[in-house]
Each structure stands twice: as structure tokens, then as C-alpha cells.
């Protein structure tokens, strides 16, 4: 080790500001996800497997499958989101990175929002993009595809935000996984209702617009309020 005995530091301390902090946070999360790899594929595999189970468990009859497809795809995507949540803060909690985030002069809710954004980008968005493919397996009528894609893209963002609250509250608990589902699933119900409702409405020749607008409203509310609850949850989990 070389002795920098002058007591001075290398950097002069040029401030990067909030946006720079967010960009750094997003880039870090993307890098970690890329190195781990599995995080990106696992929810998609889960979705595909669950969707495959239903025709085997219920009936392969197209008419029947078509009638349950919107709800089925939505429930499966919701569960896939839920599964991916458990690890959202766990790694950062264990290695002490979360502590550094808490002690950053940058506002914690915004840093959390950046983290949740990456979670959605790598989990929710791929699910939304793949769900139409699986819709083919379930004989989803043609009018439903666009609504399915849009409702999932909007809805999974809300799911990420709400789920992150639960993940933040349970990150310090030894077996938080099951508890996390118990806390989060009741809060997911409105998103499920409006999401599946949008697809159903589109299939039945109605307008998917109102349901999508409601999903958008939920997302707006979640973006405005959830980061503060997530930040509060993390502070409690770390500091008691």
C-alpha cells in the first residue's frame, strides 16, 4: 500500500447531483442483473410453465381457454412478479450497500424509485412482451393482444412499486418470502382486476380504455406515494 500521508483525497468533490446519482444507480442494477443472468429469465420461465399447466389441468378446449385466458395470463404474470420480489433488496441488505444508500446525501425515495424502475424494466416489461406469445397457447382472441400487452406493461410497474414496499419491510427477516406474499397479494388485487378487466373488455368488443386509464391512475398514485413507503420500510429494516 502506498502511503498517501498528506491526508488529502484524490477527488476534488465535483457534485454530480440527483440525476447523476439515479443514472449511476440504474447502471449498477443493470450490471448486477447482467452478471447474475438468471433473474431475467426465471420469471419468464415461470410464466410459461404456469400457463402450460392450465390446459393440462382444466381442458385443452379452445373456447374454454379463450374465456379464461385474460385472467389466467394476468394471475400468472402477477405471481411471476411476486416471486422476483424477494431478492429485490436482499443482496444489498446483506453486503451493506443498502446502508450506503441510506447515508447518501441524495434522497432515498428517488434512489429506491431508480432501483424499482430497473426491476420493472427487467421483470415486468419482459413479462408484458412475452405474455402475448403465451396468449396464443391459450387461444386468446385476436382483439385481446394489444390490451394484454399494454395492461401488463402499465400494471406490472405498479406491482413492482407496491411489492417493493413489502420487500423493504421484510428484507431483514430470515424467512421473509412467504410473509411477503401474504402482505403484498391483497394489495395487488386492484391491479389484477383492472388489468384482466382491460383485456376482457377488449375481447368482448368493448373499450379497454377506461380500465387502462384506471391502471394508469394507479401507477401515478404508486409512483407518487410508494417510494416514500419503500424508503421508510428500508430505514426500519436497517435501523429498527
Amino acid at each position: 500500500m502506498s502511503a498517501n500521508s498528506g491526508g488529502s483525497t484524490i477527488l476534488r468533490g465535483e457534485v454530480i447531483g440527483l440525476w447523476g446519482g439515479c443514472v449511476a444507480q440504474v447502471r449498477r442494477e443493470l450490471k448486477i442483473a447482467r452478471r447474475r443472468g438468471g433473474d431475467l429469465v426465471n420469471p419468464l420461465m415461470f410464466l410459461a410453465l404456469v400457463v402450460m399447466l392450465f390446459p393440462l389441468g382444466i381442458s385443452p378446449e379452445p373456447a374454454l381457454l379463450a374465456s379464461v385466458a385474460p385472467g389466467l395470463l394476468w394471475v400468472a404474470a402477477l405471481l411471476a412478479m411476486l416471486l422476483s420480489l424477494d431478492g429485490l433488496f436482499r443482496g444489498d441488505y446483506e453486503d451493506g450497500s443498502l446502508e450506503q444508500m441510506l447515508l447518501s446525501p441524495l434522497p432515498l425515495p428517488v434512489l429506491c424509485l431508480a432501483k424499482v424502475f430497473v426491476h420493472w424494466l427487467l421483470t415486468g416489461l419482459p413479462l408484458a412482451l412475452c405474455a402475448p406469445l403465451l396468449g396464443v397457447l391459450l387461444a386468446l382472441p385476436g382483439a385481446g393482444y394489444l390490451a394484454l400487452l399494454l395492461s401488463l406493461a402499465l400494471g406490472t410497474a405498479t406491482l413492482s412499486l407496491i411489492g417493493a414496499i413489502g420487500a423493504a419491510l421484510t428484507v431483514g427477516l430470515p424467512r421473509g418470502g412467504v410473509l411477503l406474499s401474504l402482505l403484498v397479494l391483497p394489495l395487488y388485487i386492484p391491479v389484477l382486476i383492472f388489468g384482466a378487466g382491460a383485456v376482457k373488455a377488449a375481447i368482448e368488443g368493448g373499450m379497454a380504455g377506461p380500465a387502462l386509464a384506471l391502471l394508469g391512475a394507479l401507477l401515478a398514485l404508486a409512483v407518487a406515494a410508494a417510494p416514500f413507503a419503500i424508503a421508510g420500510g428500508l430505514r426500519i429494516s436497517l435501523n429498527g
Partner: protein, 211 residues
């Protein structure tokens, strides 16, 4: 020269889970101070650091940063603070350099690659820039965390057990680094059982006498 560090705690008391960890604790940290907090396990060392970094509100008493209550000057305080915790804050999936770059960003300062390399070199990790942290030993991960001391300019350092997991050479370096920081007008607060060679330079605070 303006005073850089002025952290005062008056009649501090902390109650956790219906148990008093300490009561009426007075403490002053100013430019050039190096303060070592000692105490048995469970005497509230880490909790005291959480109070001093503004993570937990004290049950009684007040903490002031430049005469203002800590809670009111949060952002100003945190932009003068460098904290290295018990866990190093080094992500296993990232390389040494990426970890350090992120730490600088969280501190809110810009860090060019060249400076990151120089900081890693200063903690003896030259050539390890692109090695993922999971392949580094515990001591090397610790050094990645301590490279923040070299890199990020902050007058107040608060360190939780900084001497754990590093070898003898690292301990000597860290001791020098802490003293140099104090001589340059910075301040250090740390929990440790390590005894300094230049012991006269270091103030000590013993927790848990009452218990």
C-alpha cells in the same frame, strides 16, 4: 480557516426495546479529533453510530451539526460524512472499480476512471480493478470499501469496526491514514478494539459502564 466539523451530542440517551443502552452521554467531535468508541458487545456502539449519523432519533437529548439539530441539517450533514459500516457495502457481482464508482455516485461526487484506479492503487489493489468482488478475499473487499477514504473528500469519517478482516500491513496503513486525516483537519469517529501506536493522539469513549 473555517471549522469543517462540529458534531455535538448533549445528554444523549437511547432506549431500544424497553432497555436503556446509555443515558446522558455528552460528546464533541471537531476538526482534528479522532474518537474511538469502545465497549462490550451489546453496549450500544453501533446504535450510537446510528444516532450520530442521523439514522435513528435519540430517545432523549440532542445532536447538533454546526449548531443546528441533526434532523434539520440532514443533507448538509450527509454531504460532509463518509461512513464505512460493519458490512463493506461492496456488491459481489460488481468489479472493484465498479463498486468504487457506485460508492462515489452515492456520495454525490463525480469520479473519473483514472482517479478510481489511483484510489485502488493506494489501498494495494492495483491490477484488481476488473476483478469481480466475489473473487476477492474478505480483506480485499474490505480494502475496496476503505478505498473510499482515499477517493471521496469528506471531513467527517464515521467507521464501524474498520480494522476487521485486514492484514497487519493494512492495519498499519489504515492507522496512518486515520491519523493523517486528523492532522489534515478532518475528524474520525470509530468503533474499534484496536490500540493505536500513537495512542496519545486518540480520544476514547467507553460505553456501557453503567450496565
Amino acid at each position: 480557516m473555517a471549522v469543517k466539523v462540529s458534531l455535538r451530542a448533549n445528554r444523549l440517551a437511547c432506549e431500544r426495546d424497553d432497555r436503556w443502552l446509555f443515558r446522558s452521554l455528552d460528546l464533541r467531535v471537531e476538526d482534528g479529533h479522532i474518537l474511538r468508541i469502545e465497549g462490550a458487545n451489546g453496549s450500544g456502539k453501533t446504535t450510537l453510530l446510528k444516532l450520530l449519523t442521523g439514522q435513528l432519533p435519540p430517545t432523549e437529548g440532542r445532536i447538533e451539526w454546526h449548531g443546528e439539530p441533526l434532523a434539520a441539517s440532514r443533507e448538509a450533514f450527509l454531504s460532509q460524512l463518509l461512513y464505512v459500516g460493519h458490512a463493506p457495502g461492496v456488491s459481489a457481482a460488481l468489479t472493484a472499480q465498479e463498486n468504487l464508482a457506485w460508492a462515489a455516485a452515492m456520495a454525490g461526487v463525480r469520479a473519473p476512471d483514472l482517479d478510481l484506479e489511483r484510489a485502488l492503487e493506494a489501498v494495494g489493489l492495483a491490477g484488481f480493478e476488473d476483478i469481480p468482488a466475489r473473487q476477492l478475499s474478505a480483506g480485499q473487499q474490505r480494502r475496496v470499501a476503505l478505498a473510499r477514504l482515499e477517493l471521496i473528500p469528506r471531513p467527517l469519517w464515521i467507521l464501524d469496526e474498520p480494522f476487521t478482516a485486514i492484514d497487519r500491513e493494512g492495519v498499519a496503513w489504515l492507522e496512518q491514514r486515520l491519523l493523517a486525516h486528523g492532522d489534515a483537519g478532518g475528524a474520525v469517529v470509530m468503533t474499534t478494539h484496536h490500540t493505536f501506536h500513537a495512542n496519545g493522539r486518540v480520544d476514547s469513549l467507553l460505553l456501557g459502564e453503567a450496565a
